[in-house]
Protein backbone atom coordinates (compact mmCIF):
# COMPACT_ATOMS: atom_id res chain seq x y z
CA UNK A 1 0.00 0.00 0.00
CA UNK A 2 3.02 2.20 -0.04
CA UNK A 3 2.14 2.93 -3.62
CA UNK A 4 -0.55 5.37 -2.68
CA UNK A 5 1.55 8.44 -2.53
CA UNK A 6 2.30 7.97 -6.17
CA UNK A 7 -1.10 6.72 -7.11
CA UNK A 8 -3.01 9.52 -5.60
CA UNK A 9 -0.79 12.11 -7.17
CA UNK A 10 2.13 13.59 -5.32
CA UNK A 11 2.38 13.99 -1.63
CA UNK A 12 -1.15 15.21 -1.09
CA UNK A 13 -2.12 11.97 0.51
CA UNK A 14 0.64 11.48 2.95
CA UNK A 15 -2.32 10.25 4.92
CA UNK A 16 -1.09 7.88 7.47
CA UNK A 17 -3.34 5.00 8.12
CA UNK A 18 -3.30 6.52 11.54
CA UNK A 19 -3.81 10.12 10.78
CA UNK A 20 -6.60 9.95 13.30
CA UNK A 21 -4.09 9.62 16.08
CA UNK A 22 -3.17 12.89 17.75
CA UNK A 23 0.53 12.10 18.07
CA UNK A 24 0.95 11.36 14.41
CA UNK A 25 -1.29 14.16 13.30
CA UNK A 26 0.95 16.49 15.25
CA UNK A 27 3.99 15.25 13.40
CA UNK A 28 2.19 15.57 10.11
CA UNK A 29 1.37 19.17 10.78
CA UNK A 30 4.93 19.92 11.73
CA UNK A 31 6.04 18.25 8.52
CA UNK A 32 3.95 20.78 6.70
CA UNK A 33 1.40 18.50 5.07
CA UNK A 34 -1.86 20.37 5.41
CA UNK A 35 -3.93 17.58 3.88
CA UNK A 36 -2.89 15.29 6.67
CA UNK A 37 -4.13 17.83 9.14
CA UNK A 38 -7.40 18.06 7.30
CA UNK A 39 -7.66 14.30 7.48
CA UNK A 40 -7.50 14.57 11.22
CA UNK A 41 -10.73 16.51 11.23
CA UNK A 42 -12.29 14.11 8.75
CA UNK A 43 -11.43 11.28 11.12
CA UNK A 44 -14.37 12.29 13.22
CA UNK A 45 -16.50 11.18 10.31
CA UNK A 46 -18.46 7.96 10.54
CA UNK A 47 -17.05 5.20 8.36
CA UNK A 48 -18.94 4.60 5.15
CA UNK A 49 -20.90 1.37 5.72
CA UNK A 50 -20.17 0.25 2.16
CA UNK A 51 -16.43 0.48 2.71
CA UNK A 52 -16.71 -1.18 6.09
CA UNK A 53 -18.74 -4.03 4.60
CA UNK A 54 -16.24 -4.59 1.81
CA UNK A 55 -13.31 -4.58 4.23
CA UNK A 56 -15.07 -7.07 6.52
CA UNK A 57 -15.68 -9.27 3.49
CA UNK A 58 -12.07 -8.92 2.35
CA UNK A 59 -10.81 -9.85 5.79
CA UNK A 60 -12.80 -13.08 5.70
CA UNK A 61 -11.62 -13.79 2.16
CA UNK A 62 -8.01 -13.62 3.34
CA UNK A 63 -8.88 -16.05 6.13
CA UNK A 64 -10.40 -18.31 3.45
CA UNK A 65 -7.06 -18.24 1.64
CA UNK A 66 -5.41 -19.77 4.70
CA UNK A 67 -8.17 -22.03 5.97
CA UNK A 68 -8.87 -24.12 4.11
CA UNK A 69 -7.21 -22.72 0.93
CA UNK A 70 -3.51 -22.90 1.77
CA UNK A 71 -4.04 -25.87 4.10
CA UNK A 72 -5.52 -27.92 1.24
CA UNK A 73 -3.09 -26.61 -1.36
CA UNK A 74 -0.06 -27.50 0.75
CA UNK A 75 -1.66 -30.60 2.27
CA UNK A 76 -2.41 -32.19 -1.07
CA UNK A 77 1.22 -31.72 -2.13
CA UNK A 78 2.62 -33.64 0.83
CA UNK A 79 2.64 -37.39 1.27
CA UNK A 80 -0.51 -38.81 2.89
CA UNK A 81 1.35 -39.60 6.13
CA UNK A 82 2.02 -35.86 6.60
CA UNK A 83 -1.33 -34.44 5.52
CA UNK A 84 -2.63 -33.62 9.01
CA UNK A 85 0.65 -32.24 10.28
CA UNK A 86 0.86 -29.87 7.31
CA UNK A 87 -2.70 -28.64 7.83
CA UNK A 88 -2.33 -28.49 11.62
CA UNK A 89 0.88 -26.47 11.38
CA UNK A 90 -0.92 -23.96 9.19
CA UNK A 91 -3.88 -23.87 11.58
CA UNK A 92 -1.58 -23.56 14.59
CA UNK A 93 0.50 -20.67 13.31
CA UNK A 94 -2.59 -18.88 12.03
CA UNK A 95 -4.22 -18.95 15.44
CA UNK A 96 -0.96 -17.96 17.12
CA UNK A 97 -0.39 -15.06 14.72
CA UNK A 98 -3.88 -13.75 15.44
CA UNK A 99 -3.34 -13.68 19.19
CA UNK A 100 0.11 -12.14 18.81
CA UNK A 101 -1.31 -9.48 16.50
CA UNK A 102 -3.85 -8.13 19.00
CA UNK A 103 -1.39 -8.36 21.89
CA UNK A 104 1.58 -6.54 20.37
CA UNK A 105 1.91 -7.17 16.62
CA UNK A 106 -0.44 -4.37 15.67
CA UNK A 107 1.36 -1.99 17.99
CA UNK A 108 4.78 -2.91 16.59
CA UNK A 109 3.65 -2.50 12.98
CA UNK A 110 1.07 0.28 13.16
CA UNK A 111 1.42 1.79 16.65
CA UNK A 112 1.07 5.51 17.30
CA UNK A 113 4.72 6.03 18.34
CA UNK A 114 7.66 5.02 16.25
CA UNK A 115 10.33 5.63 13.67
CA UNK A 116 11.24 4.44 10.18
CA UNK A 117 11.77 0.86 11.25
CA UNK A 118 9.30 -0.01 13.99
CA UNK A 119 6.46 1.48 15.96
CA UNK A 120 4.99 0.96 19.40
CA UNK A 121 1.94 1.75 21.46
CA UNK A 122 -1.64 0.45 21.36
CA UNK A 123 -0.39 -2.81 22.87
CA UNK A 124 -3.31 -5.08 23.76
CA UNK A 125 -5.32 -2.70 21.55
CA UNK A 126 -5.30 -0.08 24.30
CA UNK A 127 -7.66 2.75 23.49
CA UNK A 128 -9.29 1.15 20.46
CA UNK A 129 -13.09 1.30 20.59
CA UNK A 130 -15.89 0.54 18.10
CA UNK A 131 -15.81 4.26 17.28
CA UNK A 132 -12.07 4.29 16.43
CA UNK A 133 -11.27 4.74 12.79
CA UNK A 134 -8.33 4.16 10.51
CA UNK A 135 -7.66 6.37 7.50
CA UNK A 136 -7.81 4.92 4.02
CA UNK A 137 -5.97 6.43 1.06
CA UNK A 138 -8.58 9.11 0.46
CA UNK A 139 -10.43 11.21 3.03
CA UNK A 140 -12.61 8.21 3.94
CA UNK A 141 -12.14 6.20 7.12
CA UNK A 142 -12.93 2.62 8.07
CA UNK A 143 -13.50 1.18 11.52
CA UNK A 144 -10.17 0.55 13.19
CA UNK A 145 -11.20 -2.90 14.42
CA UNK A 146 -11.72 -3.93 10.79
CA UNK A 147 -8.33 -2.58 9.77
CA UNK A 148 -6.76 -4.45 12.67
CA UNK A 149 -8.50 -7.69 11.67
CA UNK A 150 -7.60 -7.26 7.99
CA UNK A 151 -3.92 -6.74 8.76
CA UNK A 152 -4.06 -9.60 11.26
CA UNK A 153 -4.95 -12.06 8.51
CA UNK A 154 -2.00 -10.81 6.45
CA UNK A 155 0.44 -11.57 9.25
CA UNK A 156 -1.11 -15.02 9.63
CA UNK A 157 -0.93 -16.00 5.98
CA UNK A 158 2.64 -14.77 5.61
CA UNK A 159 4.00 -17.02 8.32
CA UNK A 160 1.81 -19.90 7.08
CA UNK A 161 3.33 -19.55 3.61
CA UNK A 162 6.83 -19.99 5.03
CA UNK A 163 5.88 -23.48 6.25
CA UNK A 164 5.71 -24.76 2.67
CA UNK A 165 9.45 -25.36 2.64
CA UNK A 166 9.78 -27.11 6.00
CA UNK A 167 6.80 -29.48 6.14
CA UNK A 168 7.23 -33.24 6.53
CA UNK A 169 10.16 -32.90 8.94
CA UNK A 170 9.89 -29.90 11.30
CA UNK A 171 8.46 -30.40 14.79
CA UNK A 172 5.16 -28.74 15.62
CA UNK A 173 6.75 -27.15 18.69
CA UNK A 174 9.59 -25.82 16.54
CA UNK A 175 7.10 -24.35 14.08
CA UNK A 176 5.32 -22.52 16.89
CA UNK A 177 8.56 -21.22 18.44
CA UNK A 178 9.80 -20.10 15.04
CA UNK A 179 6.53 -18.26 14.43
CA UNK A 180 6.77 -16.21 17.62
CA UNK A 181 10.30 -15.04 16.91
CA UNK A 182 9.92 -14.62 13.17
CA UNK A 183 6.80 -12.48 13.38
CA UNK A 184 8.44 -10.17 15.91
CA UNK A 185 11.83 -9.72 14.27
CA UNK A 186 10.89 -10.06 10.59
CA UNK A 187 7.21 -9.55 9.80
CA UNK A 188 6.21 -6.68 12.08
CA UNK A 189 9.21 -4.50 11.16
CA UNK A 190 8.82 -5.12 7.42
CA UNK A 191 5.06 -4.49 7.54
CA UNK A 192 5.79 -1.24 9.35
CA UNK A 193 8.50 -0.18 6.90
CA UNK A 194 6.35 -0.85 3.84
CA UNK A 195 2.80 -0.02 4.90
CA UNK A 196 3.04 2.56 7.66
CA UNK A 197 3.44 6.17 6.58
CA UNK A 198 6.64 6.62 8.60
CA UNK A 199 8.18 3.44 7.21
CA UNK A 200 11.39 3.73 5.23
CA UNK A 201 10.13 1.97 2.08
CA UNK A 202 6.80 3.79 2.19
CA UNK A 203 8.64 7.08 2.25
CA UNK A 204 10.80 6.05 -0.70
CA UNK A 205 7.69 5.63 -2.84
CA UNK A 206 8.22 1.95 -3.56
CA UNK A 207 5.15 0.46 -5.24
CA UNK A 208 3.56 -2.48 -3.46
CA UNK A 209 -0.20 -2.62 -3.69
CA UNK A 210 -1.07 -5.65 -1.58
CA UNK A 211 2.15 -7.07 -0.18
CA UNK A 212 4.48 -8.43 -2.84
CA UNK A 213 7.45 -7.57 -0.64
CA UNK A 214 5.95 -7.85 2.85
CA UNK A 215 4.14 -11.11 2.21
CA UNK A 216 5.53 -12.97 -0.77
CA UNK A 217 9.20 -12.08 -1.11
CA UNK A 218 9.45 -12.11 2.65
CA UNK A 219 7.75 -15.50 3.03
CA UNK A 220 9.52 -17.03 0.03
CA UNK A 221 13.03 -15.98 1.01
CA UNK A 222 12.41 -16.93 4.64
CA UNK A 223 11.18 -20.33 3.45
CA UNK A 224 14.39 -20.89 1.50
CA UNK A 225 16.60 -19.98 4.46
CA UNK A 226 14.51 -22.10 6.84
CA UNK A 227 14.70 -25.12 4.51
CA UNK A 228 18.47 -24.79 4.20
CA UNK A 229 18.94 -24.59 7.96
CA UNK A 230 16.51 -27.43 8.60
CA UNK A 231 18.03 -29.74 5.98
CA UNK A 232 16.49 -32.05 3.42
CA UNK A 233 13.77 -34.59 4.04
CA UNK A 234 15.20 -38.08 4.54
CA UNK A 235 15.47 -39.74 1.17
CA UNK A 236 15.25 -36.53 -0.84
CA UNK A 237 15.78 -36.47 -3.81
CA UNK A 238 16.29 -40.21 -4.42
CA UNK A 239 13.08 -41.48 -2.90
CA UNK A 240 9.90 -40.61 -4.80
CA UNK A 241 7.77 -38.05 -2.93
CA UNK A 242 4.84 -37.39 -5.23
CA UNK A 243 1.89 -35.29 -4.06
CA UNK A 244 -0.69 -37.51 -2.37
CA UNK A 245 -3.78 -35.68 -3.62
CA UNK A 246 -3.68 -33.21 -6.46
CA UNK A 247 -7.46 -33.18 -6.15
CA UNK A 248 -7.19 -31.41 -2.79
CA UNK A 249 -4.40 -29.22 -4.14
CA UNK A 250 -6.68 -28.08 -6.94
CA UNK A 251 -9.52 -27.38 -4.47
CA UNK A 252 -7.08 -25.36 -2.38
CA UNK A 253 -5.86 -23.50 -5.46
CA UNK A 254 -9.42 -22.46 -6.27
CA UNK A 255 -10.00 -21.22 -2.74
CA UNK A 256 -6.72 -19.31 -2.80
CA UNK A 257 -7.70 -17.59 -6.02
CA UNK A 258 -11.13 -16.60 -4.69
CA UNK A 259 -9.66 -15.46 -1.37
CA UNK A 260 -6.98 -13.45 -3.14
CA UNK A 261 -9.63 -10.93 -4.23
CA UNK A 262 -9.93 -9.95 -0.57
CA UNK A 263 -6.15 -9.79 -0.35
CA UNK A 264 -5.63 -7.64 -3.46
CA UNK A 265 -8.85 -5.69 -3.95
CA UNK A 266 -9.24 -5.36 -0.17
CA UNK A 267 -5.85 -3.65 -0.05
CA UNK A 268 -7.50 -0.59 -1.58
CA UNK A 269 -9.13 -0.26 1.89
CA UNK A 270 -12.29 0.99 0.20
CA UNK A 271 -14.87 -0.38 -2.23
CA UNK A 272 -13.73 2.01 -4.96
CA UNK A 273 -12.24 2.15 -8.45
CA UNK A 274 -8.80 1.19 -7.21
CA UNK A 275 -10.29 -1.99 -5.73
CA UNK A 276 -12.06 -2.62 -9.03
CA UNK A 277 -8.78 -2.35 -10.93
CA UNK A 278 -7.13 -4.71 -8.47
CA UNK A 279 -10.00 -7.13 -8.98
CA UNK A 280 -9.84 -7.31 -12.77
CA UNK A 281 -6.05 -7.65 -12.62
CA UNK A 282 -6.33 -10.49 -10.11
CA UNK A 283 -8.50 -12.32 -12.63
CA UNK A 284 -6.45 -11.85 -15.77
CA UNK A 285 -2.88 -12.07 -14.46
CA UNK A 286 -3.80 -15.34 -12.81
CA UNK A 287 -5.41 -16.74 -15.93
CA UNK A 288 -2.26 -15.90 -17.90
CA UNK A 289 -0.09 -17.50 -15.22
CA UNK A 290 -2.08 -20.75 -15.34
CA UNK A 291 -1.84 -21.17 -19.10
CA UNK A 292 1.74 -20.04 -19.47
CA UNK A 293 2.96 -22.57 -16.89
CA UNK A 294 1.29 -25.34 -18.88
CA UNK A 295 2.76 -23.90 -22.07
CA UNK A 296 6.21 -23.91 -20.50
CA UNK A 297 5.71 -27.57 -19.60
CA UNK A 298 4.88 -28.41 -23.20
CA UNK A 299 7.91 -26.49 -24.47
CA UNK A 300 10.07 -28.40 -21.99
CA UNK A 301 8.81 -31.62 -23.55
CA UNK A 302 6.36 -32.62 -20.81
CA UNK A 303 2.59 -32.84 -20.70
CA UNK A 304 0.55 -29.85 -19.58
CA UNK A 305 -0.29 -30.91 -16.02
CA UNK A 306 -2.87 -30.26 -13.31
CA UNK A 307 -0.14 -29.32 -10.86
CA UNK A 308 1.29 -27.06 -13.55
CA UNK A 309 -2.03 -25.27 -13.80
CA UNK A 310 -2.23 -24.88 -10.03
CA UNK A 311 1.37 -23.67 -9.81
CA UNK A 312 0.77 -21.17 -12.61
CA UNK A 313 -2.30 -19.82 -10.82
CA UNK A 314 -0.28 -19.18 -7.67
CA UNK A 315 2.64 -17.68 -9.63
CA UNK A 316 0.24 -15.32 -11.40
CA UNK A 317 -1.46 -14.33 -8.16
CA UNK A 318 1.85 -13.68 -6.42
CA UNK A 319 3.18 -11.61 -9.31
CA UNK A 320 0.08 -9.42 -9.56
CA UNK A 321 -0.03 -8.76 -5.81
CA UNK A 322 2.28 -5.70 -5.84
CA UNK A 323 0.83 -4.62 -9.19
CA UNK A 324 -2.86 -5.21 -8.49
CA UNK A 325 -3.90 -1.56 -8.43
CA UNK A 326 -0.69 -0.41 -10.11
CA UNK A 327 -1.17 -1.86 -13.56
CA UNK A 328 -3.62 -1.94 -16.43
CA UNK A 329 -5.23 -5.30 -17.18
CA UNK A 330 -2.93 -6.04 -20.11
CA UNK A 331 0.18 -5.15 -18.16
CA UNK A 332 -1.09 -7.58 -15.53
CA UNK A 333 -1.51 -10.33 -18.13
CA UNK A 334 2.10 -9.91 -19.25
CA UNK A 335 3.29 -9.84 -15.65
CA UNK A 336 1.42 -13.05 -14.81
CA UNK A 337 2.71 -14.82 -17.90
CA UNK A 338 6.34 -13.80 -17.42
CA UNK A 339 6.33 -14.65 -13.71
CA UNK A 340 4.79 -18.03 -14.41
CA UNK A 341 7.45 -19.04 -16.93
CA UNK A 342 10.29 -17.84 -14.69
CA UNK A 343 8.84 -19.69 -11.69
CA UNK A 344 8.47 -22.83 -13.80
CA UNK A 345 12.14 -22.66 -14.64
CA UNK A 346 13.20 -22.05 -11.03
CA UNK A 347 11.05 -24.85 -9.64
CA UNK A 348 11.72 -27.55 -12.21
CA UNK A 349 15.29 -26.80 -13.32
CA UNK A 350 17.05 -24.49 -10.88
CA UNK A 351 15.94 -26.16 -7.64
CA UNK A 352 17.13 -29.65 -8.63
CA UNK A 353 20.40 -28.14 -9.85
CA UNK A 354 21.02 -26.35 -6.55
CA UNK A 355 19.91 -29.32 -4.48
CA UNK A 356 18.02 -27.64 -1.61
CA UNK A 357 14.76 -29.21 -0.45
CA UNK A 358 12.05 -26.56 -0.55
CA UNK A 359 9.36 -29.21 -0.16
CA UNK A 360 6.40 -27.37 -1.64
CA UNK A 361 8.30 -24.64 -3.52
CA UNK A 362 7.45 -21.74 -1.24
CA UNK A 363 10.59 -19.98 -2.48
CA UNK A 364 10.33 -21.06 -6.10
CA UNK A 365 6.85 -19.61 -6.45
CA UNK A 366 6.29 -17.02 -3.71
CA UNK A 367 9.87 -15.76 -3.50
CA UNK A 368 10.68 -15.75 -7.19
CA UNK A 369 7.17 -14.73 -8.29
CA UNK A 370 7.20 -11.95 -5.71
CA UNK A 371 10.52 -10.61 -6.96
CA UNK A 372 9.39 -10.69 -10.59
CA UNK A 373 6.14 -8.97 -9.59
CA UNK A 374 7.81 -6.29 -7.49
CA UNK A 375 10.31 -5.38 -10.18
CA UNK A 376 7.78 -5.75 -12.98
CA UNK A 377 5.41 -3.37 -11.22
CA UNK A 378 7.80 -0.53 -12.04
CA UNK A 379 7.28 -1.33 -15.72
CA UNK A 380 3.55 -2.03 -15.91
CA UNK A 381 2.82 1.09 -13.82
CA UNK A 382 3.82 3.23 -16.79
CA UNK A 383 0.89 4.97 -18.50
CA UNK A 384 2.33 4.06 -21.90
CA UNK A 385 1.66 0.42 -21.01
CA UNK A 386 -1.83 1.09 -19.70
CA UNK A 387 -0.77 1.57 -16.10
CA UNK A 388 -2.15 4.22 -13.74
CA UNK A 389 1.13 6.15 -13.41
CA UNK A 390 1.22 9.89 -14.11
CA UNK A 391 2.63 11.37 -17.31
CA UNK A 392 5.85 12.22 -15.51
CA UNK A 393 6.37 8.62 -14.39
CA UNK A 394 9.87 7.34 -15.15
CA UNK A 395 10.31 3.58 -15.33
CA UNK A 396 14.06 3.65 -14.72
CA UNK A 397 13.91 5.60 -11.47
CA UNK A 398 11.05 3.48 -10.18
CA UNK A 399 12.98 0.31 -11.08
CA UNK A 400 15.83 1.42 -8.85
CA UNK A 401 13.43 2.04 -5.97
CA UNK A 402 11.73 -1.32 -6.48
CA UNK A 403 14.99 -3.24 -6.66
CA UNK A 404 16.26 -1.50 -3.53
CA UNK A 405 13.08 -2.45 -1.64
CA UNK A 406 13.39 -6.04 -2.86
CA UNK A 407 17.05 -6.36 -1.84
CA UNK A 408 16.44 -4.78 1.55
CA UNK A 409 13.51 -7.12 2.19
CA UNK A 410 15.61 -10.13 1.19
CA UNK A 411 18.40 -9.06 3.56
CA UNK A 412 16.01 -8.65 6.49
CA UNK A 413 14.30 -11.96 5.75
CA UNK A 414 17.56 -13.88 5.55
CA UNK A 415 18.98 -12.52 8.78
CA UNK A 416 15.74 -12.68 10.75
CA UNK A 417 14.89 -16.19 9.62
CA UNK A 418 18.34 -17.49 10.46
CA UNK A 419 18.01 -16.08 13.99
CA UNK A 420 14.47 -17.44 14.40
CA UNK A 421 15.48 -20.91 13.20
CA UNK A 422 18.51 -21.13 15.47
CA UNK A 423 16.48 -20.02 18.50
CA UNK A 424 13.77 -22.55 17.62
CA UNK A 425 16.47 -25.19 17.32
CA UNK A 426 17.86 -24.38 20.74
CA UNK A 427 14.39 -24.53 22.28
CA UNK A 428 12.92 -27.56 20.54
CA UNK A 429 15.54 -29.44 18.53
CA UNK A 430 13.83 -28.36 15.31
CA UNK A 431 13.55 -31.73 13.53
CA UNK A 432 11.49 -34.78 14.38
CA UNK A 433 13.32 -38.05 15.09
CA UNK A 434 14.19 -40.16 12.02
CA UNK A 435 11.63 -42.79 13.04
CA UNK A 436 8.83 -40.22 13.21
CA UNK A 437 9.87 -38.79 9.88
CA UNK A 438 9.69 -42.27 8.37
CA UNK A 439 6.29 -43.09 9.90
CA UNK A 440 4.88 -39.67 9.16
CA UNK A 441 4.34 -36.60 11.30
CA UNK A 442 0.59 -37.20 11.49
CA UNK A 443 0.95 -40.18 13.78
CA UNK A 444 4.28 -39.13 15.31
CA UNK A 445 3.47 -35.53 16.18
CA UNK A 446 -0.31 -35.51 16.50
CA UNK A 447 -1.33 -39.12 17.17
CA UNK A 448 -3.79 -39.22 14.30
CA UNK A 449 -3.99 -40.31 10.69
CA UNK A 450 -5.55 -38.26 7.92
CA UNK A 451 -7.11 -41.29 6.29
CA UNK A 452 -8.43 -44.42 8.00
Amino acid sequence: MMNRKLMCGGGTIAASLFAALPAWAQEAVEAGTPIAAATTEAAAAVPNPGNNAWMMTSTLLVLLMILPGLALFYGGLTRSKNMLSTMTQIGGVTALAMLMWVMFGYGLAFGPEGNQFISWGKFFLAGVTPDSTAATFTDEVISEYIFIAFQMTFSAITVALVLGSVVERMKFSAVMAFTVIWLVIVYYPIAHMVWEARGVFFAMGALDFAGGTVVHINAGVSALVAAMILGKRRGYPLEPMPPHSLTLTMVGTGLLWVGWFGFNAGSALEANGSAALAMINTFVATAAGALFWMLAERLAGHKGSALGWCSGVIAGLVAVTPAAGNSGPFGAIILGAVASVICFFCVSKLKPALGYDDSLDAFGIHGVGGIVGAIGTAIVYAPSLGGPGGDDFVIGAQLVTQIFAVLATIALSVIGTAIAMFVAKALTGLRVAPEIEHDGLDIGEHGERAYN
Binding site: P243, S305, L307, S311, V347, S348, P352, D361, G364
Partner: protein, 112 residues
Protein backbone atom coordinates in the same frame (compact mmCIF):
# COMPACT_ATOMS: atom_id res chain seq x y z
CA UNK B 1 -7.41 -79.88 -22.01
CA UNK B 2 -5.41 -76.70 -22.10
CA UNK B 3 -5.12 -73.84 -19.63
CA UNK B 4 -4.55 -70.53 -21.37
CA UNK B 5 -3.15 -67.48 -19.56
CA UNK B 6 -3.14 -64.21 -21.46
CA UNK B 7 -1.66 -60.94 -20.20
CA UNK B 8 -3.14 -58.08 -22.22
CA UNK B 9 -3.55 -54.33 -22.19
CA UNK B 10 -6.49 -53.38 -19.93
CA UNK B 11 -8.37 -51.42 -22.59
CA UNK B 12 -8.47 -54.52 -24.81
CA UNK B 13 -10.41 -56.62 -22.29
CA UNK B 14 -13.92 -55.96 -23.61
CA UNK B 15 -12.97 -56.72 -27.21
CA UNK B 16 -11.21 -59.94 -26.24
CA UNK B 17 -14.15 -61.04 -24.13
CA UNK B 18 -16.61 -60.49 -26.95
CA UNK B 19 -14.41 -62.24 -29.51
CA UNK B 20 -13.91 -65.27 -27.25
CA UNK B 21 -17.66 -65.43 -26.58
CA UNK B 22 -18.25 -65.48 -30.34
CA UNK B 23 -16.09 -68.59 -30.84
CA UNK B 24 -17.80 -70.47 -28.02
CA UNK B 25 -15.80 -69.78 -24.87
CA UNK B 26 -18.28 -70.06 -22.01
CA UNK B 27 -16.26 -68.64 -19.13
CA UNK B 28 -13.04 -67.02 -18.06
CA UNK B 29 -11.33 -65.56 -15.00
CA UNK B 30 -10.05 -61.97 -15.18
CA UNK B 31 -7.68 -60.22 -12.77
CA UNK B 32 -6.03 -56.82 -12.66
CA UNK B 33 -2.30 -57.34 -12.38
CA UNK B 34 0.91 -55.34 -12.52
CA UNK B 35 4.14 -56.20 -14.24
CA UNK B 36 6.75 -55.21 -16.73
CA UNK B 37 8.38 -56.49 -19.86
CA UNK B 38 9.96 -54.69 -22.74
CA UNK B 39 7.60 -51.72 -22.30
CA UNK B 40 9.18 -50.83 -18.90
CA UNK B 41 7.17 -48.37 -16.81
CA UNK B 42 5.73 -44.92 -17.24
CA UNK B 43 7.04 -41.58 -16.00
CA UNK B 44 5.23 -39.16 -13.73
CA UNK B 45 6.44 -35.57 -13.44
CA UNK B 46 5.57 -33.21 -10.59
CA UNK B 47 7.03 -29.72 -10.98
CA UNK B 48 9.97 -31.19 -12.84
CA UNK B 49 10.63 -34.06 -10.41
CA UNK B 50 10.41 -37.24 -12.48
CA UNK B 51 9.34 -40.52 -10.95
CA UNK B 52 9.34 -43.70 -13.06
CA UNK B 53 6.98 -46.44 -12.08
CA UNK B 54 8.52 -49.72 -13.31
CA UNK B 55 5.31 -51.74 -13.05
CA UNK B 56 2.43 -51.19 -15.42
CA UNK B 57 -1.18 -52.24 -14.95
CA UNK B 58 -2.26 -55.18 -17.13
CA UNK B 59 -5.19 -57.55 -17.24
CA UNK B 60 -4.71 -61.30 -16.87
CA UNK B 61 -7.27 -63.61 -18.52
CA UNK B 62 -7.38 -67.29 -17.61
CA UNK B 63 -9.36 -69.73 -19.77
CA UNK B 64 -9.60 -73.50 -19.53
CA UNK B 65 -10.57 -75.12 -22.85
CA UNK B 66 -10.85 -78.48 -24.64
CA UNK B 67 -7.83 -79.32 -26.83
CA UNK B 68 -9.66 -78.68 -30.10
CA UNK B 69 -10.71 -75.14 -29.12
CA UNK B 70 -7.40 -74.07 -27.56
CA UNK B 71 -5.65 -73.16 -30.81
CA UNK B 72 -8.58 -71.01 -31.92
CA UNK B 73 -8.63 -69.21 -28.58
CA UNK B 74 -4.94 -68.38 -28.70
CA UNK B 75 -5.27 -67.15 -32.26
CA UNK B 76 -8.29 -64.98 -31.42
CA UNK B 77 -6.67 -63.36 -28.38
CA UNK B 78 -3.51 -62.70 -30.34
CA UNK B 79 -5.39 -60.98 -33.14
CA UNK B 80 -7.85 -58.99 -31.07
CA UNK B 81 -5.45 -57.84 -28.32
CA UNK B 82 -2.72 -56.72 -30.69
CA UNK B 83 -1.97 -53.05 -31.25
CA UNK B 84 1.37 -53.91 -32.86
CA UNK B 85 3.19 -51.96 -30.15
CA UNK B 86 5.38 -53.12 -27.29
CA UNK B 87 3.39 -53.82 -24.14
CA UNK B 88 0.64 -55.79 -25.90
CA UNK B 89 1.27 -58.74 -23.61
CA UNK B 90 1.86 -62.51 -23.81
CA UNK B 91 -0.16 -65.70 -24.07
CA UNK B 92 0.89 -68.84 -22.21
CA UNK B 93 -0.62 -72.29 -22.85
CA UNK B 94 -0.34 -75.07 -20.27
CA UNK B 95 -1.51 -78.66 -20.27
CA UNK B 96 -4.40 -79.05 -17.88
CA UNK B 97 -4.51 -82.32 -15.90
CA UNK B 98 -8.11 -82.20 -14.75
CA UNK B 99 -11.13 -80.01 -14.13
CA UNK B 100 -14.08 -80.47 -11.78
CA UNK B 101 -17.41 -78.62 -11.68
CA UNK B 102 -18.08 -78.04 -8.01
CA UNK B 103 -21.90 -78.01 -8.21
CA UNK B 104 -22.26 -81.45 -9.86
CA UNK B 105 -18.93 -83.18 -9.43
CA UNK B 106 -18.55 -83.65 -13.22
CA UNK B 107 -14.94 -83.82 -14.43
CA UNK B 108 -12.94 -83.56 -17.67
CA UNK B 109 -14.20 -81.69 -20.76
CA UNK B 110 -17.80 -81.76 -19.53
CA UNK B 111 -16.80 -79.68 -16.54
CA UNK B 112 -15.59 -76.83 -18.72
Amino acid sequence: MKFIIAIIKPFKLDEVREALGAIGVAGMTVSEVKGFGRQKGQTEIYRGAEYSTNMLPKVKIEVAAPDDLAGKIVETIQQVASTEAIGDGKIFVLDLASAVRIRTGESGDTAL
